[in-house]
């Protein structure tokens, strides 16, 4: 509790500042963008339909199994339930107002630099044009694909992001609190960050030229920051870290990891929103970085502990997938190897040494892998996007500037997300409470929250 209050104070100023600029921005003048007339491409559509299925597959059953295997057997269903219900809930929220808040580009205008006031509110969050998907006609297109597909594809990102955070507070948070947290977090954190990064000209990150091809900031740093705050706020699991808490079923975790890997092709190569060279190269570099991170983590364990473990290997893989995410549209194979290796080693350090040193209980390493891996990836994107390093986006001379921009992207996301997550969690704690009773925690969440048992 002391820690969390401390956290609150520390960032209170920044939060206040943010709030002010958001309100201030409301008074700026919106403007309209013009579109060319695109036509539907069946190949692009085919790939995006598939990519959408793949990203959904990442959450159910991919991430669910990955996380589910890591907890105690008495809590396995609670994790599966949280992932499954979040999937359903985010789908409805996205349908009702999320897509609009994220992708309504009404009133956006390109603005140089950090000029908050000029940009207007809609540089930070979308309008309400698409409430209830009004206006998403069957024949509407986004680029060369039906807008319905784009809506669903983006929806799957809005699903997995809050689901990732589950890893931080697993095994002790009330189910009702999870749902309320996810709803508020989606509304006040995910939707605006998504808008700032991906909605196009006039959006903060977009205008600044921050590179985030497939969601390094929107998904991973965002989820990672919320995860860190959440595990601090919810507190440690009973007995942590004295009592060992080994994964109850690693075969489940490895299965989930395989599914995440496969599904991530939809995530990264799907972010090309086309079946083209960008998608192809995104798939290739995703594969390479993941492999490199897997081997890096394995090697780190082998060196440090004398034996490599499959939990290490799969965690490394996820770290690699996370790190290549922002980079996957702008780096080449060699950049991918470096990003993968870096992510493997650094996340290994974060999830083992750092976590133990600082003592927070990020139960399934949502911060250690997604937060840290996302940061590593975002920064190195700024390096390996350079054409002389095999990338496709920037000049060698601009590496320094781009790395700075990447850092800004990470920092703004981290701070904004951290502050708002803190407020949300605090509010929940003060009202219905975040945490189950000690007795319920001992008995397990499956029986006490859901009246069922994973295995008979």
């Amino acid at each position: 509790m002391i820690t969390t209050l401390h956290l609150g104070r520390k960032h209170a100023w920044l939060m206040a500042a943010m709030t002010i600029f958001i309100i201030a921005a409301m008074f700026s003048i919106p403007a309209w963008a013009q579109d060319e007339e695109p036509t539907l491409d069946t190949g692009d559509t085919a790939w995006m339909l598939t990519a959408t299925a793949l990203v959904l597959f990442m959450t159910i059953p991919g991430l669910s199994l990955f996380y589910g295997g890591l907890v105690n057997r008495k809590n396995v269903l609670s994790v599966l339930m949280q992932c499954f219900t979040i999937t359903a809930l985010m789908t409805l929220l996205w349908t009702i107002y999320g897509y609009s808040l994220a992708f309504d580009t009404t009133g956006m205008e390109k603005v140089d630099g950090y000029a908050f006031a000029e940009r207007g509110i809609h540089g930070y969050v979308g309008g309400l044009k698409y409430l209830f998907l009004r206006g998403v006609d069957k024949d509407a297109l986004t680029g060369t694909i039906p807008e319905s597909v784009f809506v669903t594809f983006q929806m799957t990102f809005a699903i997995i992001t809050p689901a990732l955070i589950v890893g931080a507070f697993a095994e002790r948070m009330k189910f009702s609190a999870v749902l309320i947290f996810s709803t508020l977090w989606f509304t006040f954190v995910y939707a605006p960050i998504c808008h700032m990064v991906w909605s196009g000209d006039g959006a903060l990150f977009w205008d600044l030229g921050i590179l985030d091809f497939a969601g390094g900031t929107v998904v991973h740093i965002n989820a990672g920051a919320a995860a860190l705050v959440a595990c601090l706020m919810v507190g440690k699991r009973r007995g942590y870290p004295e009592r060992p808490m080994p994964p109850h079923n690693l075969t489940m975790t490895v299965t989930g990891a395989g599914m995440l890997w496969v599904g991530w092709f939809g995530f990264n190569a799907g972010s090309a929103v086309a079946a083209d060279q960008n998608a192809g190269m995104a798939m290739l570099v995703t594969q390479i970085a993941t492999a490199a991170a897997t081997l890096a983590w394995t090697a780190a364990e082998w060196i440090k502990h004398g034996k490599p473990s499959v939990l290490g290997a799969v965690t490394g893989a996820v770290a690699g997938l996370v790190a290549i995410t922002p980079a996957s549209g702008t780096v080449g194979p060699m950049g991918a190897i470096v990003i993968g290796v870096a992510a493997g080693f650094i996340c290994f350090f974060a999830a083992t040494t750092l976590k133990r040193a600082l003592g927070y209980d990020d139960a399934l390493d949502a911060f250690g892998v997604h937060g840290v891996g996302g940061f590593v990836g975002a920064m190195l994107t700024g390096v390996f996007a350079a054409t002389n390093l095999g990338g496709f986006e920037i000049e060698a001379a601009d590496i320094g500037k781009q790395v700075w921009l990447q850092f800004v992207g990470c920092a703004v996301t981290f701070v904004y997300c951290g502050v708002v997550s803190f407020i949300i969690l605090k509010l929940i704690d003060l009202t219905i409470g975040l945490r189950v009773s000690e007795q319920d925690e001992i008995e397990g969440l499956d029986v006490t929250q859901h009246e069922e048992a994973g295995y008979i």
């Binding site: 870290p241 060992p244 080994p246 364990e301 939990l311 965690t315 390493d365």
Partner: protein, 113 residues
């Protein structure tokens, strides 16, 4: 009657059962247990969290025999289950006052033969 309880290494189960069958033991009951003793456990490591597993998988056999079979049964178990390595396990002997075969209701020595 006597109850012989033997705690052995799991991979010895088959051999012990053979040995007992060959001296005419008609029935026994087996339970998977975890044993804590002199045998050192192994280390497991999950994302840097070390976890010394001190409870090792063992198998417990329970065999109820007539008093005169006791020595023979204990010897057979000790012989078949021994590897000479630490952790081979123990045999405990205690008294049983009565036995009943559920199917027939017979009791006493006849219930276990």
């Amino acid at each position: 009657m006597r109850k012989i309880e033997a705690i052995i290494k799991p991979f010895k189960l088959e051999e012990v059962k053979e040995a007992l069958s060959s001296i005419g033991v008609q029935g026994l009951t087996v339970t998977e247990v975890k044993g804590f003793g002199r045998q050192k456990g192994h280390k497991e490591l999950y994302r840097g969290a070390e976890y010394v597993v001190e409870f090792l998988p063992k198998v417990k056999l329970e065999i109820v025999v007539s008093d005169d079979q006791q020595t023979q049964v204990v010897d057979a178990i000790v012989k078949a289950a021994s590897t000479g390595r630490i952790g081979d396990g123990k045999v405990f002997v205690s008294a049983i006052e009565d036995a009943v075969r559920i199917r027939t209701g017979e009791s006493g020595d006849v219930a276990i033969s």
